[in-house]
C-alpha cells in the first residue's frame, strides 16, 4: 500500500455506490437525489394506452417514476399492434390495451409500480369520488381524447389549485401539439446558465480588507503571479475610486485606462492572473443588480398579501425582499469559479466568500423567520440552501386553463401576426377535434373545406387564417388519426421531459402550447 493510500483510508467514508445509484447515475447528474426522490414519489395518470401514451410512459418508467396508471377501456386492435412498441404483436390483439401496456412497460424497471384501469374516462368522471380519485395523482396526461371528455377532464382539474396539472397531447400524422394546464408553477432550482454575481463592484468588508492588505510591490514573484483576479480587481477598483470621486470607470476611455492600470501592476509580462483580471475587468464596473424577474416577484400580489395556505416559495420570496431592502443585493454566492491562483490563495479567497455567504444566509434566515412568524423548521434547511443559491434565477409561472387561447380573440389575432406558423398547426388540430366531435352526429366526411370552415369559426370575424394553414390542413386531412412511430417517439420524449420538470420542480417547463411540425422539422411555443 502506498503512503497516500495508507493515510487516506481513515478519512474516506464513502464506499462504492449501490446498484440503484449506478443504474440512475446518468440522470442523477442532471437532477440529483432531490429530483430523483420527487420522481419516485410521483403518481402519474395517463388517459389512453395508444402508441404516443406508451412512448411517454416509457420515458417516465425508465428513470423510475413511482407509480403510473393507464386508464383505457379499449381492447387492442390489429392497428394498435402495428404501431405500439409496448404491445406484443398479434398476441396482444383483443386483450386490454391498458393491461398489455402496463405489463410490457413494467418489464423495463422493477422499481416502478403500474396499474391498468379499464374504465372509461366518462365512467370515472360520472362516479361519485371520481374527482377525488383524479386529484390524488401528481400529474395527468391525456392523449388524443375526444373533445367532450377532454373538456370535462380539463374543467374538473382546473377547479382546485391543489389538483394535478394536466398535459393535453394531440398528434395527427407529422403534426402535433401538447399543452400543460396548471394554475401556477414555482421553480427554485431552475439550473440557470449564468452564475451568481461575485459582487466585485461592492466587495464585502473582509474581501476589501484582504485586497488592500496585500503588498503587491514587495511580494515574492511567484506569489505575485498567483493572486486571484477577483482580489486584483477589488484592489484596482478601490484605488481607482480614490481618484475618481468614488466612482467606477464611467466610459470607454476610462475602461481602457482601468485595464491599463491592471496590466501595469505586472512584474513579468506573462503573468496569467493579471491577463485574466484584464479579461474579467467588466465585473468591476458592472453593477450588481437584482434581476428584473426577481424584482417583479417582490411585487407579486401573493408575495404582498400573505395567506395561511401559501406554498413555502412565497414565504421565501417575502424574506428575500426583506433581505434585499436591507443589503441592497441578493445574498452573496458561496461558489467561486476556477481562476489562475495558487492553491492557498484560492482556498483563502474561497473561505472569505464562504464565511460571508454563511453570514448573509443567517441574515436571510432572520428575514425568513420574520416572514414565517418565527417557525422556519417547516421549510427545511435544504430548501433554504437551494433558495439562497438560486435567488438570481427564481421562476414563477402562471398558467391558463386548457383551451383558453381558443376563446381569447385578442390573443388569437395577435398570434396570426407573431406566431403564424405555430398558430396554423394549432388551428388545424383544434379544427380536427371540433369536426370529429360534430361528425359523430352529422355524418359529414372529413375534407380540407370542412376543417377550414371549422378553423375560421375559431377566429374572430374578419380575421384571416394564417397563410401556413392550408399546408397544415392538408397534412391533417391525409393523416387525421395517424400516430406515427417517429412522431410518437418525439412526443414521448418531449412530454416526458416536461413532466419530469413539473414533477421535480427543477428546470423550467413550457408555459403554453408546444407545437411540433415534423415535415419541416421544427418545434415552437404558442
Amino acid at each position: 500500500m502506498s503512503t497516500v493510500e495508507a493515510t487516506t483510508t481513515a478519512l474516506v467514508t464513502e464506499s462504492a455506490p449501490d446498484n440503484k445509484t449506478r443504474r440512475y447515475d446518468r440522470q442523477l447528474r442532471l437532477w440529483a437525489a432531490s429530483g430523483q426522490s420527487a420522481l419516485e414519489n410521483a403518481r402519474i395518470l395517463v388517459v389512453s394506452g395508444g402508441a404516443t401514451a406508451t412512448s411517454i410512459l416509457k420515458n417516465l418508467v425508465l428513470p423510475g417514476v413511482g407509480h403510473f396508471t393507464i386508464l383505457d377501456p379499449l381492447p387492442v386492435t390489429p392497428e394498435d399492434a402495428g404501431n405500439n412498441f409496448f404491445l406484443d404483436g398479434l398476441n396482444s390483439v383483443g386483450k386490454s390495451r391498458a393491461e398489455e401496456g402496463v405489463r410490457l412497460l413494467l418489464e423495463m424497471n422493477d422499481g416502478v409500480d403500474g396499474k391498468a384501469d379499464t374504465r372509461s374516462l366518462e365512467e370515472v368522471l360520472d362516479t361519485p369520488g371520481g374527482k377525488e380519485w383524479l386529484g390524488e395523482f401528481t400529474l395527468v396526461i391525456a392523449v388524443n381524447l375526444e373533445k367532450g371528455p377532454l373538456e370535462r377532464l380539463a374543467a374538473v382539474l382546473w377547479e382546485e389549485e391543489s389538483f394535478p396539472p394536466l398535459v393535453v397531447v394531440r398528434p395527427a400524422g407529422f403534426l402535433a401539439e401538447f399543452y400543460i394546464q396548471y394554475h401556477e408553477h414555482t421553480v427554485i432550482e431552475s439550473h440557470p446558465e449564468t452564475a451568481q454575481s461575485l459582487q466585485i463592484d461592492r466587495p464585502f468588508p473582509a474581501l476589501l480588507d484582504y485586497a488592500m492588505s496585500l503588498d503587491f510591490e514587495n511580494m515574492d514573484v511567484t506569489d505575485h503571479g498567483h493572486v486571484p483576479y477577483v482580489v486584483i480587481l477589488v484592489r484596482v477598483l478601490e484605488e481607482w475610486k480614490k481618484t475618481h470621486d468614488g466612482l467606477p470607470p464611467q466610459n470607454a476611455a476610462e475602461k481602457v485606462q482601468f485595464k491599463k492600470n491592471i496590466l501595469a501592476m505586472r512584474k513579468k509580462p506573462d503573468e496569467e492572473n493579471f491577463e485574466e483580471a484584464e479579461a474579467q475587468a467588466y465585473r468591476a464596473w458592472t453593477k450588481t443588480v437584482v434581476p428584473s424577474e426577481t424584482r417583479a416577484l417582490f411585487d407579486d400580489a401573493k408575495v404582498i398579501s400573505p395567506s395561511s395556505v401559501e406554498a413555502p416559495f412565497y414565504k421565501l420570496v417575502r424574506a428575500l425582499k426583506k433581505f434585499v431592502e436591507g443589503s441592497g443585493a441578493l445574498p452573496l454566492t458561496s461558489t467561486l469559479p476556477d481562476m489562475k491562483a495558487s492553491t492557498s490563495a484560492y482556498i483563502d479567497l474561497q473561505k472569505l466568500y464562504k464565511t460571508r455567504a454563511e453570514e448573509e444566509k443567517e441574515v436571510f434566515r432572520g428575514c425568513l423567520s420574520e416572514a414565517c412568524g418565527g417557525d422556519i423548521k417547516a421549510i427545511g434547511e435544504d430548501m433554504i440552501d437551494a433558495f439562497v443559491k438560486n435567488s438570481h434565477a427564481l421562476k414563477l409561472l402562471r398558467g391558463k386553463r386548457w383551451a383558453a387561447l381558443d376563446e381569447d380573440h385578442e390573443a388569437l389575432v395577435l398570434a396570426t401576426q407573431t406566431s403564424s406558423k405555430q398558430l396554423a398547426v394549432h388551428l388545424a388540430l383544434s379544427a380536427l377535434s371540433n369536426f370529429l366531435a360534430k361528425s359523430k352526429t352529422s355524418g359529414q366526411t372529413l375534407s380540407a373545406e370542412a376543417l377550414t370552415a371549422e378553423a375560421q369559426k375559431l377566429l374572430p370575424d374578419g380575421t384571416e387564417l394564417p397563410e401556413e394553414f392550408e399546408d397544415c390542413v392538408g397534412e391533417v386531412v391525409r393523416s387525421p388519426t395517424a400516430e406515427l412511430p417517429n412522431t410518437a417517439a418525439l412526443l414521448g420524449g418531449l412530454v416526458a421531459q416536461e413532466a419530469i420538470k413539473m414533477i421535480t420542480r427543477q428546470y423550467v417547463p413550457i408555459n403554453g402550447y408546444c407545437i411540433v411540425d415534423l415535415v419541416e422539422t421544427w418545434t415552437g411555443i404558442l
Binding site: A16, R29, G82, G173, Y346, A489, C514
Partner: protein, 404 residues
C-alpha cells in the same frame, strides 16, 4: 415468440394503418420526388436495407422506430457490452443482460417484439468492416458517442462515393445527446457539408493544465486528475486503468480525497471521481427519444456550410502558410492546436521522405533529429506534407507556403 417463427409471420391486415396514411397520399409539402403508394411501401418493407451504428441510448430508439415504421432488414453495429448505468434509458436491455453485447441483445429484442423484422447484429468495431460491407446499405444512421468514430464513419462514406455509380452515395443521419440537449443532422456525402467540415464547431474538451494538477490544485477535479493522470501510472506502472472497474475508481477516489484533504479542497466524491475519469455525459431516455424522432422543445435548424478546404470532402490539399523559420516540432504543435483538424500525435511525411513518425519506436528515433530542423529545409515552397494520426480517419495533405 422466437425470432425463428416471427420471421414467418406475415404482415396482418391493419398492421400499417397508421404509417400508410402518410405513404398512400402525398401531403402538401412532400417532396415532388416522393411517389406515394405501393412503390414506396414495397421499397420500405421489402427492399430497403438500413445500417444503425451504435446500440446505445440513441441506437435503441432508432431501432425501435425503424422496426415500427416497417423496415424489415436492419443491421446494427456496436462494440460495447451492457452496463448497469445503461438501463435508465437503453430500453431494449434488462438487468439480466448486463455484460452481454449491446448489438446482439438489441437485435434479439426487436425481433421478438416486432414480428417479421430481421435485425442483424455485429458485435465489434465499425473499422472491422470494409467498403463492400457499407456499400450494401441504403442509409446509415449513427447514434455514436465519440467524435473519433463519427469522423471515421463520415470519411469512409465520403470516400465510398463513386461519381459513376449513384448507388455508392449513402446518406448518413447523425445524432447526439447531452443531458436535456441534443442534435441531429443529415449528411449526403460529397453533396452537403460533411461531419469534418464543421469539426471546429465542437466544444474543446475540458483539459486541465498539467502544472495546475501537479502544483496548484484548486478544484476537486484537479485532485481527481492528479490521481488518474499522475498517481495511477506512478503507482501501478504499466497496468492499464479500467474506468469501469469499481476497484479502480475506488482507488482513484481515495487518492484524490487524500490530496484534497491535504490542500483543504472540498467536494471530491465517488460520483465526481467517476464523472471526471470517464468523462461522463448525463443521459436520459427522453432526450434520446426526441433526437431519434428529431429535435427538441427549443429546437432550431440551420445549414452547415460545406468547406472547400475540408480535408475529407474538399478533395484538395489544405493550404498552410508558415514562417520559414518554423521548425518541424513547432509545426506539430500548430497542428495539434488547430480546432478544425483535432489531432493528437501527428506523423509527417512527404512523397519522398519521412519527416517525423510517432511510431514504431525505431522510426521515431530515426526521425527525431528532424524535429529541430526548419520545415523549409525539408519541404520546398508549394510542397505537400502528408499528415497521419491514429485519431485521424484519413490522411491530410498540407500544401506548404512560407511567409515572405
Amino acid at each position: 415468440m422466437s425470432s425463428e417463427s416471427s420471421t414467418l409471420v406475415h404482415d396482418w391486415p391493419g398492421r400499417y394503418h397508421h404509417i400508410d396514411q402518410v405513404l398512400n397520399t402525398p401531403g402538401p409539402r412532400t417532396d415532388p420526388g416522393f411517389l406515394a403508394g405501393d412503390g414506396v411501401k414495397d421499397f420500405l418493407r421489402n427492399k430497403a436495407k438500413i445500417l444503425v451504428i451504435g446500440a446505445g441510448g440513441l441506437g435503441c430508439e432508432i431501432l425501435a422506430n425503424l422496426a415500427l415504421t416497417g423496415f424489415k432488414d436492419i443491421h446494427v453495429i456496436d462494440m460495447d457490452t451492457i452496463d448497469i448505468s445503461n438501463l435508465n434509458r437503453q430500453f431494449l436491455f434488462r438487468q439480466k443482460d448486463v455484460g452481454k453485447p449491446k448489438a446482439t441483445v438489441a437485435a434479439q429484442f426487436i425481433m421478438n417484439r416486432v414480428p417479421g423484422v430481421k435485425v442483424t447484429p455485429y458485435f465489434g468495431k465499425i473499422q472491422d468492416k470494409d467498403d463492400d460491407y457499407y456499400l450494401q446499405f441504403d442509409l446509415v444512421i449513427c447514434g455514436l458517442d465519440s467524435v473519433e468514430a463519427r469522423r471515421w464513419m463520415n470519411a469512409t462514406l465520403v470516400n465510398l462515393v463513386d461519381p459513376e455509380k449513384p448507388d455508392s452515395l449513402k446518406p448518413m443521419i447523425d445524432g447526439g445527446t447531452e443531458g436535456f440537449k441534443g442534435q441531429a443532422r443529415v449528411i449526403l456525402p460529397t453533396i452537403t457539408s460533411c461531419y469534418e467540415c464543421s469539426l471546429d464547431m465542437l466544444n474543446k474538451p475540458t483539459a486541465f493544465p498539467i502544472c495546475t494538477i501537479a502544483n496548484t490544485p484548486r478544484l476537486p477535479e484537479h485532485c481527481i486528475e492528479w490521481a488518474s493522470v499522475l498517481e495511477w501510472p506512478r503507482v501501478h506502472g504499466d497496468k492499464k486503468m479500467d474506468t469501469d472497474d469499481p476497484d479502480h475508481i475506488g482507488w482513484l477516489y481515495k487518492v484524490a480525497a487524500a490530496r484534497a484533504a491535504e490542500f483543504k479542497i472540498e467536494g471530491v466524491t465517488w460520483s465526481l471521481t467517476q464523472g471526471v475519469v470517464k468523462n461522463i455525459i448525463p443521459a436520459i431516455a427522453s432526450t434520446n427519444a426526441i433526437i431519434a424522432g428529431t429535435d427538441g422543445v427549443y429546437s432550431y435548424t440551420f445549414e452547415h456550410e460545406k468547406r472547400d478546404d475540408c480535408p475529407v470532402c474538399g478533395g484538395e490539399a489544405v493550404d498552410m502558410t508558415i514562417n520559414s523559420d518554423t521548425t518541424v516540432e513547432q509545426l506539430i504543435e500548430i497542428l495539434i492546436e488547430k480546432q478544425d483538424i483535432q489531432i493528437k500525435k501527428p506523423s509527417l511525411s512527404t512523397s519522398t521522405k519521412q519527416i517525423y513518425l510517432q511510431a514504431p519506436p525505431q522510426l521515431e528515433q530515426a526521425t527525431r533529429p528532424n524535429l529541430e530542423k526548419k520545415v523549409s529545409e525539408l519541404v520546398p515552397p508549394g510542397g505537400e506534407i502528408t499528415v497521419t494520426a491514429s485519431t485521424l480517419p484519413f490522411s491530410l495533405s498540407l500544401r506548404i507556403s512560407y511567409e515572405a
